[in-house]
Amino acid sequence: MQSTLFHRAAVGLISLMFSGMAVASDWTERSNENLRPGVTGVSQEVYDLHTTILWIVTIIGLLVFGLILVSMVRHRRSKNPNPSTFHENVFLEVLWTVVPFVILIAMAVPATRVLIELDDSSKAELTVKVTGHRWKWEYEYLTYQDDNNIGVSYMSNLATPVEQINNPVLAGGLFPYGTAQEAVGSEFPEKDKNYNLEADKPLVLPSGQKVRFLITSADVIHSFWIPDLGGKKDAIPGFVNETWAVVPEGKEGTYYGQCAELCGKNHAFMPIEAEVVSQEEFQTWLAQKKEEAAAAPDLTPFADLDEAMTLGEQTYKGACAVCHGNNGQGGVGLPFAGSDFATNEEHLDEHIDVLVNGRAAMPAFGAQLSPKEIAAVVTYERNAWGNESGDLIQPQDVQDHE
């Protein structure tokens, strides 16, 4: 991988200047060196601005560096033993104050135009409220066309398995993939193409319609950023920020983004995956989601401990492992493995209560997990990693909990 790098860097520098000609519309054709033009009208305008300013600063830079170089060659002592003594020149000084000023005005005009365009988030057909959480995104569909009462919301977590992320060096993790890995013989799985970018439940958006995002946060400041949709906006607790995007028809596909404001431990592990589909597909999907949301919760009891444990493990990895550790060893959250809390019968009610209603830094999961999932997680936490409480919690137990 490294042998080709200098070659790629050289190509990169050149392509940086000319990449306006080749429009990469798919994230899979990711540029390694330059801004991507993206898929929306705004993102393309931003890209054009970027290319223009890059040319301007490159030319200014080359002029200044060229003058320095010429001076270093021609005005060295061996070539020019008697220095000149001039130390001011009003014409030059006025010139190099006025010319940059004019260039700046030429830059400010298109920048202002794009900024004004970006500021107008009116007449949106779909409004999605995006809430940043430590460390996941919540998408709540508020209005779509005439429907002001959608009531669909869900959490979106990182989908990359923790085995791909954690490659401790003592276990050979210095070489997680490639030939070095074979030589050292570490057992870490190869990383997926969309490593650290893929989410379990993507944000689904229709193409060809204006989508307005209302962005806020439940805890610290995050920043919602999908580069292909053209720019980021901070998610700030107590504020609702606005931004918008229209992905043109024919540009359906998956677009990835990441949190762009430091939000704590797992800042690097809360990606945004946006799936843009046609309007018909979107409407079908939304109708189905609405139906699911309206349906009564599934309270079918678990047949046995194994069934609960399977669902529990799956849910735990998605919602809990990020703070409590993949093996219940704790982290930002308290440990479960071998803890009195997760093994002592006395704490069973409290255990369910904390999950449903939250406590201190622990968020409430009552609204985002179904009673069945909560029951499964509690069962899992009380029976995994050597915790042998034998407790089997049923969905009805959670449903009855107030």
């Binding site: 390694n32 931003v46 001076s71 002592r77 920020n241």
Partner: protein, 532 residues
Amino acid sequence: MSTAAAHDDHHHHAPKGLKRWLFSTNHKDIGTLYLWFSFAMFMVGGLLAMVIRTELLEPGMQFVDPEFFNQMTTVHGLAMVFGAVMPGFVGLANWMIPLMIGAPDMALPRMNNWSFWILPFAFLILLSSVFMSAFGAGHPSAPNFGWTFYAPLSTEYGPASTDLFILSVHMMGISSIMGAINVIVTVFNLRAPGMTLMKMPLFVWTWLITAFLLIAVMPVLAGAVTMMLTDRHFGTSFFNAAGGGDPVLFQHVFWFFGHPEVYIMILPAFGIVSAIIPTFARKPLFGYASMVYATASIALLSFVVWAHHMFTVGMPLAGTLFFMYMTMLISVPTGVTVFNWVATMWRGSMTFELPMKWAIAFVILFTCGGLSGLMLAITPVDFQYHDTYFVVAHFHYVLVTGAVFSMFAAAYYWLPKWSGVMPNKLLGELHFWSSLISVNLLFFPMHFVGLAGMPRRYADYALQFADYNFWISIGGFWFGLSQLLFLAVCILCALKKGEKAPARSWEGAEGLEWEVPSPAPFHTYDTPPVVK
């Protein structure tokens, strides 16, 4: 022209040993203390950066926990800004301003002592949290919210060590304010007869302007951390939306300090380069007066651009436009300074001794940082650049190849005056070329990964960033190791090993500091020189 005061050493009893340094009121000794302290913090901050670059060698978490990674980025930033760059320039001011204006010492020598000796304790407090995190029982977190410590990550969600951080920042602030007062009082009161303001060397001018910036903004930083403290412990809600406060207010207050702070860290560099280029071009500085006015207008404009750090927080359109225009405007006076340096070199008779090499590298690479800064000013594009490695590349070009390179230039330029011996040429050349190549391997590819979309402060990243990050890390280790060469140069000078330096150590050097012997005697200018 001058009365070099070598004769008075014998009638003053100079303390020896530890007491000489602990109780020093001598501007040269205090300057030396500042400079060694700055270099020590540069190495500490560098070590923390090595941890960051080791983790980022490859995708995946290999060496440290993401939590520890965040502590590293935070303390790296704080150590470099408040420990390496700022004290480094204060050290240079202490040593050089009295020599340059013909003053016997700084105007307030005891305060000078205090403002230095606060610093080691401030950093002891801050760095103790890193030691506790790395080696203590239970690994209590060191500050982990980035050097910009945005609320509420640093308030409601900050670790216990945030309080150590707050105390430490307060102490650094007191130290800086006292240092700035000392510079202003010295420049206004202790100039030699005939040394009018418009005859002062540009380094003195830029420092005078910097000192006003410091006095204006350090109290704002103190206010920000005090509000944090009361939010954390005394039930106030300055930055807590749930209590009627405003997390964005924190950013406004922080950057009202933070943007002038950026210029605090670069204006003295302008002064240094404006001293070195004329010396080795053997030609007077082009546009002295315009340089003074440009520096002053940069300083004034620096108070009205702060919100360009926060374009993505959702400001109203009018506010965004105002800050975009002002930010673009600041490139005009900055351009003037660069053009002046080029014009100074033009038709000069240049030689390329070590200080000149560093100064030219400064002009070119600082300009790179300035140009990427202009790109960042274009707000709609900043929505893409913001908080990516493009920003990291930008500010490391202005701070490392800008501020730090100017300090290397200053050290090579004035080491003969400080120590009495010329810096070792072979080690110096190695240090320069090794640093120049590695620093670009380290920071240039950051532009690429930033544009391609890698957010900053990421402990782990998507696969398309892997190749460049590998080389960035190699550049980082190389640059870090290269600085040991500089340590060797300094130790050799301190041990007086090397070619003896004459009073005027560089052929084309002008200015009062070159009229006194090398090394500069313990006391200089007991009788002020007369400047014609």
